[in-house]
Structures are given as structure tokens and as C-alpha cells.
Amino acid sequence: MSTATRRPTLAVWKFASCDGCQLTLLDCEDELLAIADAVEVAYFLEATRATVEGPYDLSLVEGSVTTPADAERIRSVRAASRRLVTIGACATAGGIQALRNFADVEEYLGIVYATPSYIETLSTSTPIAAHVPVDFELRGCPIDRGQLLEVVNAFLNGRAPEIRAHSVCVECKARGNVCVTVAHGTACLGPITHAGCGALCPSYHRGCYGCFGPSESADPRALGDELRRRGTDDVDLVRMLRTFNAAADAFRAESTRLERAPR
């Protein structure tokens, strides 16, 4: 790339989210200068108030759609973006706030707010891809710093990102961990969870919490059958499946099934 070429523009957008995934970009301390060299940060309110008009070459979108206004806004973001990559469990699966999808939002509003009529919200929290076409979904709650760099890097170098959708167990074994399920009897979602964290929790003797959502061939029902044999009850199984990726298809289907037909 010659220096005369215009640097691609990067925009970072926030929808319903905790900001943790955007923060991951600022966390790339060692690489921040290289990123700033490689792209022009055109819109990133968490980092700078200065903004550049679109269109943008690469948009990173954090957060889920929970209001009618955001359902509209994401369309304009899409229209202004050459490539749109969603980052984090909120943007890719609806996030923890998608627990509302399993409940009655009107009831929540009545309990939480003095004047519920001031609140305009949707009855569901949905991923960005439910509203507009998405070029790549980067999973995780929060996303992994190395994977975010890889996605930006792949975009800059015109190649597909090296992001694998197999189980966390593959990373866990590569790391040389002792399996917490087999050796300690700890319930672990690793076998059905999308890789990306480097098997962080099993490395600290904890079961995987499923932060990266379902793996490419996740079979939560088979895992549930096995965990039940090992002593996890259905209430706990539902709880394990209903965290940051509660509304991801494979997790949602199984937690809903368990709730409807408890054993």
C-alpha cells in the first residue's frame, strides 16, 4: 500500500450494550498506533468527539436493537458502511438484555419505572443481523482483543479473518488444560461454545460460561443430557444457557424446550 493511498475509514457504533467491546479496541494499547496508521478513525465517540462524515469503509457495530429508533438507525449505519462487522454478544445474539425475549416487557416496565409510558422500547432485544445484512459477526462477551485485531487486519489485507467456529474444547486441549468436566466433575459449556476466548475459564478451573455463544455444531441437548447424568438439574441448565447469548438460536431452543418439558 503506498502512502499516497487514502487510509480506509473506520467507524464504531453503539447500540444497546455496555461499551465493553468498544473498549477492547482502546485496550489494544500496543497496536493502537499501528491501527491509527492503517485506518482513519472517522467516527468513534468513545475515543474522540471529532467525527468525519460517512460513508465509512469499515463499521464496527456494538450492541443490540431494543428500541424502534435503533431499528431505524441501524439501517442508516448500514447504508453508510462499505463493510459492517458486528462485535460482541449483544450485536451478534441480542446480549444479556435478550432475557426480555423470554419475559413480558410490559410487566418489567410496570415494575421498574414510575411512569412506564415514558419508555419506548421493543419487546425483544435482537442482533444486528436480524435487521440488516452483516459482513462478519465477531462473537464474545466481551470480544477477544486478538480476534478484533485479526478482523481489522483481515479487512485491511483483503483476506478472510482467521476466526474459527469450532468448540472451546479445541482451544482448551491446545492449551494443555486438564478438562474440568472429566477430572473435576464441573459443568462446562465448552463442548457447545464457539471458540475465541482461548478457553479462559477452564484455564482457571472454571466451567465455560458460553460467552461466545453456540459453536458451529453446538448440540445443547446432548450436552444437557450428559450434564444431567453428572448431576446438573434442569433449572441450572436453563440458567447456564440463558446468559449473554440466551437468544442465540441453539441456546434459546434448548432452554425453551427444557422450560416447557421439565424432567
Binding site: 500500500m1 497496536e31 499501528a34 491501527i35 496508521d37 492503517a38 485485531l149 481489522v152 487486519n153 483481515a154 485491511l156 489485507n157 483476506r159 482467521e162 474459527r164 467456529a165 469450532h166 468448540s167 474444547c169 479445541v170 486441549k173 491446545a174 492449551r175 494443555g176 488444560n177 486438564v178 478438562c179 468436566t181 472429566v182 477430572a183 473435576h184 462446562c188 465448552g190 463442548p191 457447545i192 478451573h205 459453536s215 458451529e216 455444531s217 448440540d219 446432548a222 450436552l223 443430557d225 450428559e226 447424568r229
Partner: protein
């Protein structure tokens, strides 16, 4: 220990008399290997399992630690007598050190309009593997034959293997998952070692009967006090191994498994396994003979530098069978069938032997407790353990 020390190396080769060393002698041997430039790796109890890791001496070895294994279950146990090798195989195997989970194959830097390839990385120090079991010794040989069949054997792996020093150990306490008597690979350590130990903890003391398998093995005993093994030592060693063999009850006939699976591509039992299998890949990643890898290309942000990295892959990932447009083995049924059929049946067609050495790791470390011996039995319609 009385007797000679050191300088006199026992002769190498099979048929040469075995010698006896004590625990201190083993310690000296390990330290000697480190001094000779080896990275010494041996069994270490950590996080509730015996894994393979760097060891400085016998103090690092898991004295008095045994294991209990079953389908999907592994627990450490205490074993009286303080034996250093009372355990069997854990989740790690030699494969981890001879073809590691992730390594850079080559890298290149942009150079004007072209690029220059960085020179090959310097060789890592050679590995000395202490405590290799019969099944794993056989697995190293299986991996050797796989590599020899390759038109482009990986030079780094071949070099790591050729330079590796192997201290094998006969098994005294097989786990319920072990079936090396069926595959002919244990519980005694077969050929392929530099030194092979039988640990004895009887009234005559804690000691090791050592068989010397190579000149390097003989050289490693220089500086270690040893005495010739007596008939009583050899009898005791034979009893340890004989008793161990007698306690192994799991059976798999490799030749029959080959035929059974070759005739069963559409057997309904594959659906039964597929309902339990998680496609998590653990079985393939603990198997000491699995060799599949994938490569990824890594670039830096500025596009000035790129490297090609090899990492362990598994036939349980979708990318493993990805051709343009999608994965050939899209279902768990087809992936489990691929794993079992390759390991036990088509491996014969490809490499002239079974791909299984009977270590039982895939049984113990499957989080769903799937047991290949039981699955083969179910497909063969034979009586035997049925699946859970």
C-alpha cells in the same frame, strides 16, 4: 546403591543384561539428560491429573499418585508405597512435544515489490521424554510411519523426533480404560525406547530394573550408580507386568474392528452415537496417533509481514472437511463415523496397521463418556458393554 558407578556404560541393545538403579540413580539420570542439553519432560500431577511437563528431577514426579479412569471420568488417587509411576496415561502424550499444538512454519517480510522469506527458525532443544508407556511408545512409532508415508515429511517434526530421547516405563496399575493387551502395545514397553524401566517397590527397596535400548540410552547411564539385575529382580519385574496385563479387561480385536466398520457405513448405530456426541473434538486431541493439522496465515496490520502457522485440527471441526461451498461432513453422525472408521479401519488401508494403540484416552477424556470399544461392540452386534 552398591556396585559400580558410572563410567562403565552397560552395553546397548536387546538381549543385554538389565541393570538396576535406585531412585537417586533415576534422579541423576534425569539431571544428566538436562546437562546434556535435553529439555526433560515427564509426568507431573497438576490440576487433578497427571500431565506432561518440564521436570528437574524425581522430586517433580508424582510419587504415590495413581489414577482411576472410566468413560468420561478421570480422578487422581493415592497409592501406597510411593511409586513414581503408579499412574497410567493422562490427557497429554508425546505428540504434544514432537508436533506441538501451534508452531510457525515460515514467515516473510515485504521487500519493495517482492518479499523475503525469513530463514528457518533455529531448532528447539531436543526433548527427553521420561515415563513413556507402552501404548505411547507404539503411538510414536505410528506417527513415524505416518510421516514416512508423506511425500513431504515435515523437517522440524522429523528432526524433533529423531533427536528425542525416550525413557519408557512398564505399567503396573492399568486403568479401566486401558486395552493395550488387545493392540499388543503394553503394559510392557516395547521397542523404540532408549531406556525402559520397570519400577519395583517391594521389600528389597524402591528401585528400577532398566533395559537399555540404544547406545544413547547406555550413555545416559554413565554417571549413574547401577548394578546388574539379579534373577530375583527380573522375576519381580516380570510379575509386575504380568499382574498388570491380567488386570486389563477391556477388549478390542483390531482386525475384527477393521472388518466390522468397513461393512457398516450405514449402520443405524451411528445415529445413536450422534445423539450423544458433542462434536467437541476432545477424543481426537487427546489421541496420541491423531495427526491432522491446519494452517493459518497471520499478517501484521501494515501488511509488511506474514507468517504461516500450523495448528492441531480435528475431523470434528466443520472446516476440516470444507470444500468450496460447504463442509463435506456436515453432521455429527458423519464426523463420528469418520473418526472411528479412520482410526480403526481405513488406517489399515492407508498405513497397513490399526491407528489405535489402546491407550483409552479418547474414552476417559470424552466429556460425553463415549467409549469407542463399546461403540464398535454395538456395531458388531457383539455382547459387551453397551453404550450409556
Amino acid at each position: 546403591m552398591d556396585g559400580r558407578t558410572g563410567r562403565d556404560e552397560p552395553d546397548a541393545g536387546r538381549g543385554t543384561p538389565a541393570v538396576v538403579v535406585d531412585v537417586d540413580g533415576l534422579d541423576r539420570m534425569i539431571r544428566g539428560l538436562a546437562r546434556a542439553g535435553y529439555r526433560v519432560v515427564g509426568p507431573v500431577a497438576r490440576d487433578g491429573a497427571v500431565v506432561l511437563d518440564d521436570v528437574d528431577g524425581v522430586a517433580d514426579l508424582p510419587a504415590g499418585v495413581g489414577d482411576e479412569q472410566d468413560a468420561g471420568r478421570y480422578r487422581l488417587t493415592g497409592v501406597a508405597g510411593g511409586a513414581l509411576f503408579a499412574h497410567t496415561v493422562g490427557p497429554h502424550s508425546a505428540r504434544r512435544f514432537l508436533s506441538p499444538p501451534r508452531r510457525t512454519l515460515w514467515s516473510a517480510a515485504r521487500d519493495g515489490d517482492g518479499f523475503t522469506v525469513d530463514g528457518p527458525a533455529a531448532d528447539d532443544p531436543p526433548v527427553a521424554l521420561v515415563g513413556v508407556r507402552g501404548c505411547d511408545l507404539a503411538a510414536i512409532a505410528v506417527q513415524d510411519r505416518v510421516r514416512q508415508r508423506s511425500p513431504h515429511p515435515d523437517p522440524a517434526c522429523a528432526s524433533a523426533r529423531a533427536r528425542a530421547f525416550v525413557v519408557a516405563v512398564d505399567c503396573a496399575r492399568p486403568a479401566s480404560t486401558c486395552f493395550c493387551t488387545s493392540t499388543g502395545t503394553g503394559p510392557a514397553a516395547g521397542p523404540g525406547h532408549d531406556l525402559a524401566l520397570t519400577e519395583l517397590t517391594d521389600a528389597h527397596g524402591h528401585r528400577f530394573v532398566v533395559r537399555v535400548g540404544s547406545d544413547r540410552g547406555a550413555a545416559a547411564l554413565a554417571g549413574v550408580p547401577w548394578r546388574p539385575a539379579t534373577a530375583a529382580d527380573l522375576d519381580a519385574a516380570a510379575r509386575v507386568v504380568g499382574d498388570a496385563a491380567g488386570r486389563i479387561t477391556r477388549r478390542l480385536d483390531p482386525a475384527r474392528a477393521r472388518d466390522v466398520l468397513a461393512a457398516a457405513p450405514e449402520h443405524p448405530h451411528w445415529d445413536d452415537v450422534a445423539r450423544r456426541c458433542l462434536s467437541c473434538a476432545n477424543c481426537t486431541l487427546v489421541c496420541p496417533t491423531c495427526f491432522c493439522t491446519a494452517v493459518e496465515d497471520v499478517t501484521d496490520l501494515a501488511g509488511g509481514h506474514a507468517s504461516r502457522v500450523e495448528r492441531w485440527d480435528s475431523c470434528f471441526t466443520l472446516d476440516h472437511s470444507y470444500l468450496h461451498g460447504g463442509a463435506v461432513r456436515g453432521s455429527t453422525r458423519s464426523r463420528y463415523r469418520q473418526w472411528l472408521t479412520h482410526k480403526l479401519s481405513t488406517w489399515w488401508d492407508q498405513f497397513g496397521e490399526t491407528g489405535c494403540v489402546g491407550c483409552g484416552r479418547c474414552i476417559a477424556w470424552c466429556p460425553a463418556g463415549i467409549d469407542l470399544v463399546a461403540e464398535v461392540a454395538a456395531i458388531a452386534g457383539a455382547p459387551g458393554e453397551s453404550g450409556p
